[in-house]
């Protein structure tokens, strides 16, 4: 499961990407990158009037802000576009299932006018800007957190149809001291999920979980598996596998 999760973070879940991994060739790789660009540009940027360079700048900014709170204003400044333009493109990425926001929770509902975290829906999409020479590829730590979020979102969609479109079920927690828990939801009752893509040294995550008042938490590690008073540390691959079961 650990090696498979590492492999999954590299390949992603587009059937074309998985096929290219099974039977690799330069032609397949080129076709794959073009197909993913078509997904992003064709769905979310076509007709926007933005150039490829501006599109890549937005994607690069989104990739570099994975796992962090995202400021539309800061992104707009970084890519030299108006706030409204960036906001519209983010919304187009959301509508076309390319990326999704995780809002801050307040009483397990989205807190109005607070900064969201944004993730892509697939590792292949997270790398698309890099493939076109814009920025660095996302690191596995960010991708693992992203894909745990994706797995939780899919599980929530099964339970509450529309969860993956309204983005009102999967949220993040932030305390007054700015300690964060990556994923909370009314559907998880008092359990929560925190990503720490490490092989050891995740103990502080349980301190944050305990301080948040939640009764239990699951920390998604790379390989660590251990029972704690406040929940479990489990390999991210095992969590994703169990969520599907």
């Amino acid at each position: 499961l650990i090696e498979s999760w590492d492999h999954y973070l590299k390949v992603g879940g587009y059937p074309q990407a998985v096929a290219a991994e099974i039977d690799p060739s330069d032609e397949m790789d080129r076709a794959l990158v073009e197909a993913l660009w078509d997904v992003v540009h064709g769905e979310a940027f076509a007709g926007s009037g933005l150039t490829h360079t501006q599109t890549q700048a937005i994607l690069r900014a989104l990739t570099s802000s994975l796992t962090s709170l995202m400021s539309v204003h800061a992104m707009a400044q970084a890519v030299n576009l108006a706030n409204a333009t960036v906001g519209q493109r983010l919304d187009a990425l959301r509508r076309s299932f390319v990326a999704f926001p995780v809002h801050r929770e307040q009483g397990l509902a989205p807190k109005p006018r607070s900064q969201a975290k944004w993730y892509f829906t697939d590792p292949g999409l997270s790398r698309i800007a890099f493939h076109f020479g814009a920025g660095a590829p996302p690191d596995p730590t960010a991708l693992s957190e992203q894909q745990i979020g994706v797995a939780l979102l899919r599980a929530l969609e099964q339970r509450s149809p529309g969860a993956a479109m309204r983005h009102d079920r999967l949220l993040y927690y932030r305390s007054t001291t700015r300690a964060e828990i990556d994923f909370v939801s009314a559907d998880f009752t008092m359990t929560c999920f925190e990503s720490k893509f490490v092989d050891r040294g995740w103990g502080r995550a349980f301190q944050t979980i305990e301080a948040s008042g939640r009764s239990a938490g699951v920390v998604a590690t790379r390989s660590g598996l251990r029972r704690h008073d406040g929940g479990w540390a489990l390999p991210a691959g095992l969590i994703a596998f169990l969520l599907k079961s």
Binding site: L1, E3, S4, W5, H7, Y8, V11, G12, G13, Y14, P15, Q16, V18, A19, E21, I22, D23, A35, L36, D38, V39, G42, E43, R94, R95, S96, F97, V98, T121, D122, Q147, V150, A151, R154, E157, P161, G162, A164, M165, R166, G237, A240, F241, K244, S245
Partner: protein, 201 residues
Amino acid sequence: MRADEVDAELVEANPWWRDPGGWEQHDVQLRAARSSPLSYEPRPLDNLSPGGLYILRGPRRVGKSTALKQLIAERIRGTHPSRQILHVSVEGRSDQDVADIVRRSASHWLKGQPGQRLWLIDEITAVQGAWPAIIKRLRDSHPSFSADTVILTGSSSERFDEARKLLAGRRNTTRSDRVLFQMGFAETARALGAELPGCRH
């Protein structure tokens, strides 16, 4: 949309009307699936209830159109008469075009009684205009479309709440909103050779 335009599009998009036994060999999506090194058959359209109105959404290039074709192939290989199955892509069309296509199909092309037909309308979310309102009107007033099994697909979550609200009470089924995502971790890992225990799904 003129009747001859609708007719030409329908004849092109429904080769099983002419060749129910051989169309699969020439279908672009099914051929690509057969020749792929990846053996992957998502089943987002399992357990359909007759007369239900379903909306299948998801990102582009995850296999929605292939899943539609596989459903058509399974139905025709079973007992479903090919002239009772209609597939059309309405990407870039207007909401009025959708109404024209449905009316023309029902009156001139589809065989069978209301309730027996299967409609597969691809890329409904790429229609210009208020498609949920048109679907609602057709579902309310058209004698065949209101009773048949209808599957709409789209690559956008736009108008999700509007469609849910307008079509409430007209779906005739549960689990009527479905999403097909990219392959998940377990599916990907298995395809790449990992041995994982079986899943319930």
